[in-house]
Symmetry: none
DNA sequence: CATCAACTTAAGAATTAATTAATCTTAGCG
DNA sequence: CGCTAAGATTAATTAATTCTTAAGTTGATG
């Protein structure tokens, strides 16, 4: 699901009123907000924080938004960052210049917070959809990659069959949380499937055989948890 | 580089004048254009032609644009198609409803052809960036050339029939990613085509016969993946 | 030290894929 | 058109892996 909390926005405008207005509205939604008041600062800040989306004013003293946008697109690592122009200039040629500079959207002032928020959301959602969001869990010497279906421990690849993989994936989704047998059933087998009492044990055993005995901790009468050191 | 010729657009509007105006302007750019004059037709047509982008009017008799958009988003295989609303309704609440229905952009009439074209281009570019359907895939000792329909392994050219080529091309589009049988069906055969359970197996077998057994890895109950070393 | 949950092992059940051969489909060509 | 051959699909059989169960054992804990 879409969560504004997962995204960082960089707001760039030379007018402090607008920065405050935007900051207020967007952080209320949950976004992490950074601000800059000119193009040069924006470049430096963007390089540093790698925002998901940059909201860029066009008319700024010194380096204007178009120029800033072009320069951002030159920077390796920021080529794919989303850029939205936010400006009072509604003229066609200005919009066209904006898109030619590499913008993803162009919104004219006055700003309607609700509409802006929806546009931001649409861009972020679309970008996310396209990014093969490979669900990789990494901690300590563990790497669990669902897309590739591999488990790596200390650089050594281990092949796991489906149920074992799912089980490890679950335990690793919250390392050091204790998962009760019931939780494990529900997640790995599904609420409706009924299997015998010892099925989990056997799978745990096989996992331990493959990844070593030190990782999965048994808590008698409570459940299992994954150990991280 | 961006080429309008590579994209198919579906235009939906109940006013014929507008359809003609848009068709004229966009086909001049090079896009392949299909048109519909109501929501129901649009759904059917979209399913059939799988456009890259749908331009949707909101106010239409019977099924309006919002509803049409929602229904498109329900259709497997069209979940990710780009949708742009194109409407006279500039009210905030209408825009918000549009984005909530799953739109990627919302443009208000009167239409400025140049600006519209830039917005369309921005959407298509963004969507393409992450689509890994490059014409030539190269990694390790593999070269897969979609244009010439040729696979080279260690300098040796191998000719593959259509389905086998598509299958290998898919696996190679993300080496070491696991492709489930369903994904393979959808990409190689198409969402609607129904073929038997063993069809993939046989194609995999023929591929292995030709490229060697070491490349395609079976993950029982999960799918297949291409190995890279 | 009794109890009971968890461990272990091995066997067989179930699922899934590989293989092979036969059949169906399609494109190209006389 | 009908023939042919390559390609695609299906069907039937076999093979392999994965999952589950059963039964005896272990060991932590109160």
């Amino acid at each position: 699901m879409f969560k504004a909390e997962d995204y960082t926005l960089l707001l760039v405008d030379d007018e402090n009123d607008i920065l405050e207005f935007l900051s207020y509205n967007l952080s209320k939604e949950g976004y992490k907000i950074h601000t800059c008041s000119n193009g040069s600062d924006a470049l430096a800040e963007a390089k540093k924080i790698k925002p998901d989306l940059i909201l860029l004013d066009i008319m700024m003293p010194m380096k204007d938004g178009i120029e800033t946008c072009q320069e951002i697109r030159e920077i390796k690592g920021l080529k794919n960052v989303l850029i939205m122009f936010l400006t009072a200039r509604a003229e066609d040629y200005s919009q066209i210049a904006g898109f030619d500079a590499g913008a993803d959207d162009y919104v004219t002032k006055p700003i309607k917070p609700k509409v802006l928020q929806k546009r931001i959301e649409a861009l972020l959602k679309r970008a996310k959809k396209n990014n093969a969001d490979n669900d990789v869990i990494q901690f300590g010497n563990f790497i669990i990659d669902s897309e590739r279906y591999v488990v790596k421990i200390d650089e050594k690849e281990i092949n796991l069959p489906r149920k074992e993989f799912k089980l490890l994936h679950l335990l690793a989704s919250k390392p050091s949380k204790v998962f009760s047998r019931e939780e494990i059933y529900n997640h790995v087998w599904g609420d409706d499937v009924v299997v015998g009492d010892r099925t989990i044990d056997v799978h745990i055993r096989k996992l331990r055989e493959k990844i070593g005995n030190d990782y999965i901790i048994t808590l008698k009468g409570v459940g299992y948890r994954l150990n991280i050191d």
